[in-house]
């Protein structure tokens, strides 16, 4: 059965890095679909920072940029705006051969995954 209950209490964008309201509005208010997408996001991307680091270490910057780009799109869907911004910065820097954005990307990803578990308690 799909969950029809609404999300956890409104979350503050500044402190959480999430804009759940905007994400939900784009889904036409379908909260259970947002739950599914958040779960899916964590499942697909929780270890993406390791993947990106490995690609950079293997001198495959183009693939690392593509992975960041993909993740950024997925992050925007679930409303993880702070993570999307960090991914964008890391992507921009990596395009000019600079890996300096990767540590803060990793931090943002880990924080977002923690928030995901708050958004969908017991689902991730």
């Amino acid at each position: 059965m799909k969950s029809t209950r609404f999300l956890s209490p409104p979350l503050d964008i500044q402190s959480t890095g999430f804009d759940v309201g905007a994400a939900l509005a784009r889904l036409g208010g379908n909260a259970s679909l947002l739950h599914e997408l958040v779960s899916r996001f964590v499942r697909e991307h929780a270890s993406s920072a390791d993947d990106v680091d490995a690609l950079v270490a293997a001198h495959k910057p183009a693939q690392a940029v593509a992975a960041l780009h993909r993740l950024k799109g997925a992050a925007r869907i679930v409303g993880a705006v702070a993570l999307a911004d960090a991914a964008q910065r890391a992507e921009d820097l990596l395009m000019v051969g600079d890996a300096a954005g990767l540590p803060s990307f990793r931090t943002a990803l880990d924080a977002a995954c923690v928030q995901c578990k708050a958004i969908v308690p017991g689902r991730t």
Binding site: G28, L33, E36, L37, Q63, H69, G73, I77
Partner: protein
């Protein structure tokens, strides 16, 4: 047709699982969906099974990107007319121009808004369905549902050139309902229309190959255009039509036969490039008049 069949089928192409999940689940109330996670699989999906009515296509994918998928699909006659909407975060002008240049009908920016996406998809599917309907109507005879005169003329011109290049025989069977004016006068125009429909059905079921065409030439006159067909084959088809109508045994009191019959004229030519296609029509027409003069309900060649 049940509701499940009428719900349009979409193909959604994206390498990001969260995007695929969003679009396939978020649109499932209005559409049936198939998904592909890369360009190569998208082309595979388009080559087999039910063809989607619209493709939602991600631009940036590893391997074959969205532009290339779109280009490939526009190269194939079976998929050329399927509308493609690009779903992309690259919302800059050059990306849009490039997408439109390879044949996309629209763009949707990521992160997608489901209600906007749904509305745009429905708009393009309706446009496509209307275009298909108009195209079909422009080729069909409204009364009988077989090809109309315009479609016949186009096909004749095309087959004439093709046969001239291949030096192969092109056959035309002209079919005319005997004493049709008298039938209309005796039974009324409603019955006349019904009679023409039944004759058209006989003609349509007499031709078997996809390259053959059954058409309403005008009034009570019909035509069967048969590619790569020598005289014997054309005579056979004409005889099938003649006996088929005879066997319908539609009462016709004011015809000497007492029932509806047809006369057929068969013309066969190996077209020459300098000859006009009208030659074939003139030949079949002469034979048709001969069949009428010899007593009707017969085939002349």
């Amino acid at each position: 047709m049940n509701a499940e069949r009428r719900r349009p089928l979409l193909l959604i192409v994206d390498d990001e699982p969260v995007n695929l999940h969003l679009l396939s689940q978020g649109l499932q109330e209005d559409f049936r969906t198939r998904t592909a996670d890369c360009g190569e699989r998208a082309l595979e999906a388009l080559a087999s099974g039910e063809r989607p009515e619209l493709v939602l296509l991600d631009v940036r994918m590893p391997g074959m990107d969205g532009y290339e998928v779109c280009r490939q699909l526009k190269l194939r006659s079976e998929t050329r007319d399927i509308p493609v909407i690009f779903v992309t975060s690259q919302s800059d002008e050059s990306a849009e121009m490039r997408g439109l240049a390879v044949g996309a009908v629209d763009f949707i920016a990521k992160p997608v808004n489901l209600r906007v996406t749904r509305a745009r998809i429905l708009t393009h599917i309706n446009l496509k369905r209307n275009a298909d309907r108009l195209a079909r109507m422009s080729r069909e005879d409204a009364l009988t549902g077989i090809a109309n005169r315009r479609s016949f003329d186009e096909t004749l011109t095309h087959e004439w050139r093709r046969s001239a290049r291949a030096s192969s025989p092109l056959a035309l069977v002209m079919v005319d309902v005997d004493f049709f004016k008298q039938y209309n006068d005796r039974y009324g125009h409603g019955a006349g229309d019904a009679c023409l429909k039944r004759v058209a059905d006989v003609l349509a079921s007499a031709i078997r190959r996809p390259s053959d065409l059954a058409a309403r030439y005008g009034g009570e006159e019909f035509a069967a255009l048969l590619a790569d067909t020598p005289l014997e084959g054309a005579l056979q088809i004409a005889e099938i039509v003649r006996t088929g109508v005879d066997r319908l045994a539609i009462p016709h009191e004011t015809s000497p036969a007492g029932r509806v019959t047809v006369s057929c004229g068969v013309g066969v030519l190996i077209p020459q490039a300098h000859m006009p296609p009208a030659e074939l029509i003139a030949t079949a027409d002469r034979k048709l008049y001969a069949a009428k003069a010899e007593g009707r309900n017969r085939v002349a060649a």
